[in-house]
Amino acid sequence: MNVAPAELADRALAAATGPCVVLVDVTSTANLRWAANTLTTNGLTSAYDVTVVAVHDGTRAGVVSRAGVRPDDVAGLVADAESAARLASPSQDAAPLAGGSAHDSFGEPPAAVTPSDLGHLAGELARVFDAARSVGHEHFGYAEQVSRSTYLATSTGIRLRHVQPTALVQLNGKSAGRTRSAWAGTSARSLDAVDVAALSAEVTERLGWQARRVELGAGRYDTVLPPSAVADLMVYAYESADARTAHEGRSVFGHSGGGTRVGDRLTEVPLTLRSDPDHPDLTCAATVLATSSGLLGSVFDNGLPIGASTWIDAGTLSALPGTRHSASLAGLPFHPFVDNLELTCPGSAGSTLDLVGDLDRGLLLTCVWYVREVDPHTLLLTGLTRDGVYLVEGGEVTGAVTNFRFNESPVDLLGRVEAAGASVPALGREMGDYFSRTAMPPLRVRGFNCSSVSQAS
């Protein structure tokens, strides 16, 4: 990027004839992808775009985004946004723009990723591939380093910069003939912080557990869900929890005749689901940065502070994410959507295997996949197990069973939690590419609904 983001933002505000919000997003990424112990694709990208939110008559918004905008093009972009605002119908979510001040970091350059950011990882992966070849295993997977720098400037005085580094590593090991499959994944702020050897060791251990196959049909089983599986289910619930849809009775978090279920006890287990931008392991933006309006964000809310929010407090639904507008409709306090999520249970400690140790007979999952909503009113989800389902007998893993299609509601599941472990940073197998900052405990649940057998291995 040959132009300073702050300069682009300031030029846009200078060109604006009315209230205006400008977001400059600068994204720098590097990635590697591999299959069967060899690289398949890679990429190094740098991109930036400028979003202008022009407000006309206090209620009409024009939102126009363009990538690669040159300084001389900024005035035209602002004019297009202002024209769109004049022609627009009033926005439901219209609200006064937030006021604020300038932060010193606003003028600093964006963070950038270079090919050398992959160097440490590439070396580690080469060793993993060599080790896998020596025992007839294959590795498949993906790793990326992303740095996203967002500059927010408003006609009300806000000037701030947020830098969000995100690294992901996902390892999928398969035995000879690809009849066994195991997965381990993690997120961090830097690829250099990822212990690839530890992930590989976990995959190798799990492949070993699958040496003994056990036939098992569909049915309901007491099941230990590891943190990755819990993350996918809880993120789905969180992203389905917007205040407006609940208020209209259209989600599991609302009553069918209208009105939210805030205050309802969802589970007798004292589970707490919360988000906090300042979580030491899951740091994320503490300010609303919205380039579009929707159920979970509003361009009018840009610049408002994001604090910690507790969505489920010791088992009781206590807040719903949304916008100032949806909070007002629902008669709830405004809680902006936060880009992290943590589930905890007071007094719970121990690992996934500790929960397995207390299970007389049941299943241990690795992760869930292709999770889709079947019924929004109960949040019934369907999906598949993946990369290892293990039979547990007498507190020990005794073999691997088939994959299953499940039909379950994460909200209903919370009511069937029999034990929880310690909450740890977790990467959802399915949602982790898009929502990577979660900390989840393993959960042992009663009667997990394995609706049918999947032949997939």
Binding site: T38, F129, Y142, W183, E248, G257, V374, G415, N449
Partner: protein, 502 residues
Amino acid sequence: MTREVNPDFTSLPLQALADAALQRARDLGAEHADLRVERVRRSDLRLRDGQLSGAGDGTDAGLAVRVVLDGTWGFCASSDLTTASAVAAAEQAVAMARVSQPLSTERVELAPEPAHSGHWVSSYAIDPFDVPVADQQGLLEDWSRRLLADGVDHVDAEVDAVKEQKLYADLGGTFTVQQRVRVQPAVTVVVSSSEGIETMRSLAPPVGRGWEYLAGTAAQGVWDWDGELAQLPALVVEKLKAPSVEPGRYDLVIDPSNLWLTIHESIGHATELDRALGYEAAYAGTSFATHDQLGTLRYGSEAMNVTGDRIVEHGLATTGWDDEGVATQSFDIVRDGRLVGYQLDRRIARLTGLERSNGCAFADSSSHVPIQRMANVSLQPAPDGPTTADLIAGVERGVYVVGDKSWSIDMQRYNFQFTGQRFYSIVDGRLAGMVKDLAYQATTTDFWGSMTRVGGPSTWVLGGAFNCGKGQPGQVAAVSHGCPSALFTGVRVLNTTAEGTS
């Protein structure tokens, strides 16, 4: 019909960018190099109960250089459309190839393709980005008002529009410039009462057309919006009051508005050869339709004939050349129920000894590397096949399934589960009112093996989706699937309410 790539794209220094990037890659020793310059404009407009809840107009633009250096891929993209940036991208792509070489044990080679040059524009009449925002909002406001006046409690109305402009050039001499337009309108109605709450979405599929798809009428050969909007309120009330389905095995007459998605998941993805070979194993998954079964796998009944194409008019995957410069075409995937072909890109074609790719490479933006993506994979109608009413008339106890909703399939494309927008009980060859809470679940080859009758050409509809995901980093592609109505016997039907009751 608009048939020219817009000058706002052709006026970019496309030739200079190509020359700069490709020459630099050649100088650095690349045995293959290609440049894409892409500009993708997307607009979205959403109304909730007739009031604007969100609108945006975004343009993503940039260039991408992909090289093969000593048998290893390298890729770099930038949103800076200057010759200096093109040169830098070529250099960084080569650097990425070098950092990746220690991990590469399989030499990348590409199936050959003749050089092509030319322009191609998709088939549409009205560029949606030429329609004033106020007119677009006015149309959705009118739709919403009509539905609210007919008694529904809530209405969501939305439209997404995309214009994709693309240059592809490579060291082999190909230089192509293309423009595609697509739109996806939808309305969802909601009713609630003491009996609960129910929703229903319109059946209009996304298409490779322009704004005429929303503003036109059935008589003009587009969608019958007036008819659909008039019917939705009564239909959703009927669904609300309908009895819950009794689980069991039923004969299903599946309407094209539902069947397209089952085709997408159980045939479209299963016959991507990169998946079948394991290149997507860590993420999207693999396929039961492994390459060693080509020509022998019994995929379904003998009534099953499936093609892939990137040429059908208004198809969402339709284009002139793919993102590796391959001229698009039509090809067989399943013939008389047997697997006979796969979707390919140039690398996968070469790996499996094929002389040529069938043109299924696609990247959703300049920021992403082309990968094998889905063609318009379509079930062919029986030339003298029955109407949907005829299919229903032949069923003693069954369900007529209309509209897509929830979908899920496993990572080898065996086990799937789908729901729908509405379900009609069939008793003794006649529709006997709606049922609700239905999902059908099956294993792919069992399901297609149970297809005993295929509807005729009059039942064939081109459905599709804007949001097919694949790859890491994730990419989204639009794709169409044409199909007739068809009859499937003895399919397992679940009651979703019972499934969710612990």
